[in-house]
């Protein structure tokens, strides 16, 4: 009976797909659960709010949290402006098709460059050539460069997703192209643009290689007072705690606390993005 055999095949396929997807979820849950289990005992109010003491063996990680937020803020603000502007140009204003293709190709290529190469470039350009030294500004700009391909692509897609019929309707009412962009395209695309920005924030927060040569301090248990100072950061601090602390055995548990903090912060940004998208999608139906 061929009918029955076909059903068996379907059942088997369904089973296979479920097993694989549950497996993936389990692995992910395992990683998060393991970090949470090992890190939870270390994390506490004082761990999150106090500076390191006694060569990182005691105290908290507050300067690294603050430093990470500063550098990330610089990266996202600078990258956000440039990325959104470039995305708008590619989607709405570029009339020369060849130039547009060339820029798109460049953006795709940039996305494939390893992050450590960005780090080296940041060192050469921002730290040395522009004389910024190892500083929050240099690190933030390097990370902005790194996140640009993602941000440009995201903004371009967001603007292109705005129905052409609405743009035409606006032009038909006597709006200039810039008025149409500012009054129709940008407001409608904003939810998507913002979602991309928040997602990029989560990614930038965890990047390690680009900050190594541009901003990260090995041990500097104070809070940064300006954009021209180096600072400690969570990803690099994590690396130091595991590999090159004063006493690695003693600092090892604290690494898990740091990892959990970083994980929770990244997760918070990802969830914010999901929420933003859901809420604003309801409002604009695009």
């Amino acid at each position: 009976m061929p009918k029955v055999r076909k059903r068996w095949g379907e059942l088997l396929a369904t089973l296979l797909v479920s097993v694989v997807s549950w497996g993936a979820i389990l692995v992910l849950g395992g990683v998060v659960g393991f970090i949470a289990y090992k890190g939870a005992s270390v994390i506490g109010w004082s761990f999150l709010t106090e500076p390191m003491r006694e060569g990182m063996r005691k105290g908290g990680i507050a300067p690294a949290i603050v430093g990470s937020l500063w550098v990330t803020a610089v990266a996202v603000i600078v990258g956000g402006f440039i990325g959104t502007a470039a995305g708008a140009y590619l989607s709405e204003f570029a009339t020369n098709r060849r130039l547009k293709r060339a820029i798109e190709f460049l953006v795709t290529t940039l996305a494939g460059i390893p992050s450590v190469v960005y780090g080296l470039f940041g060192l050469a350009l921002f730290v040395v050539a522009l004389g910024l030294g190892a500083s929050i500004l240099a690190g933030g700009l390097t990370l902005a460069l790194l996140s640009l391909p993602l941000l440009i692509r995201n903004a371009q897609e967001a603007f292109s997703a705005v129905p052409a019929s609405l743009k035409e309707a606006s032009l038909g009412l006597g709006a200039s192209e810039m008025q149409t962009f500012l009054r129709i395209t940008l407001p409608i695309a904003l939810p998507r643009v913002l979602t991309g920005l928040v997602l990029a924030t989560g990614r930038v927060l965890g990047e390690t290689a680009p900050i190594l040569f541009t901003v990260a301090a090995y041990y500097l248990p104070t809070y940064p007072r300006s954009l021209f100072e180096p600072t400690m950061l969570l990803p690099y601090h994590l690396y130091v705690l595991i590999t090159s602390g004063v006493n690695v055995k003693e600092t090892y548990p604290m690494a898990f606390g740091t990892a959990l903090t970083l994980l929770m912060m990244s997760l918070a940004f990802t969830l914010t993005a999901a929420y933003l998208r859901f809420r604003l999608k309801l409002k604009y139906r695009v």
């Binding site: 098709r97 129905p163 019929s165 609405l166 035409e168 309707a169 606006s170 032009l171 038909g172 009412l173 006597g174 709006a175 200039s176 008025q179 009054r183 129709i184 409608i188 409002k283 604009y284 139906r285 695009v286």
Partner: protein
């Protein structure tokens, strides 16, 4: 002086010739229906009148197109200004995701010289002209997306009228609507004729016969026949026109 006058207008998209030597003239306060099978050039002609084709890559035009005696493709004419004199309503309703009020006020705000009280006045006036005022006057702050398809299309007409154009272009304005909404829009066209000149593209022969004073039949980029709607449907001069309006092709 004619409201609209085309003198030997030809249009290319790249190497494709979309309009071939079209000449016609239209008096003020008349309704002109453009009919013909898909791809015949009628929409291209409509979009010439507010220079919407400018955005299409490879667009090229020859000949002269005059509105109120002014060559609208002369280099001195700013298409943005032209479009304030020539309103357009599209095939599918295109309300912006704003409130009903802000939709109608949109074109007015672009010009930056009206007080809010004046804008309110013009919004009401436009909504009345589009026969929508009574249905929405208590809900002006409501999202335009919540309106029915027919109401949305009348909103788009109100939005175009608020800018006070003298020429109104309609690109198959009822093809996405139900019969009752269609009847309302047709009634509206009748009333608007008092103050506006209207050019409407339609696929519906009965509609062309009902709403228009003049009819132009396009076929393969050429204007085959142009004349009074009365004569057009009762006594067409060209065999192709006869075949089209009796439904034998297209």
């Amino acid at each position: 002086m004619y409201k609209v006058e085309a003198r030997s207008v030809s249009v290319w998209y790249g190497s494709y010739k979309a309009l071939d030597d079209v000449s016609l003239s239209l008096e003020r306060n008349q309704v002109l229906a453009l009919i013909g099978p898909s791809g015949c050039g009628k929409s291209t002609f409509l979009r010439l009148l507010n220079r919407m084709n400018d955005y299409i890559e490879g667009f090229r035009m020859e000949g002269k197109l005059l509105i109120d005696g002014e060559d609208i493709y002369s280099p001195e004419v700013d298409p943005v200004h032209l479009r304030r004199r020539v309103g357009m309503v599209f095939q599918k309703p295109t309300p912006f995701p704003f409130s009903i009020y802000e939709n109608v006020a949109y074109g007015l705000r672009l010009q930056n010289r009206l007080k809010e009280s004046q804008i309110r006045e013009r919004v009401e006036q436009a909504l009345r002209q589009a026969a929508l005022w009574d249905e929405v006057k208590d809900n002006l702050k409501k999202s335009a997306l919540a309106l029915s398809g027919g109401q949305q299309q009348r909103l788009c007409i109100a939005r175009a009228l608020a800018v006070r154009p003298s020429l109104l272009l309609m690109d198959e304005p009822t093809s996405a609507l139900d019969p009752i909404s269609t009847a309302k829009i047709e009634e509206l066209i009748h009333e608007l004729r008092q103050n506006y000149t209207i050019v409407i593209v339609t696929h519906n022969m009965q509609q062309a016969a009902r709403v228009s004073d003049m009819t132009a039949f396009f076929y393969m980029g050429r204007l085959i026949e142009y004349g009074r709607t009365k004569d057009f449907f009762t006594n067409p001069k060209h065999p192709e026109t006869l075949r089209y309006i009796t439904g034998r092709f297209g």
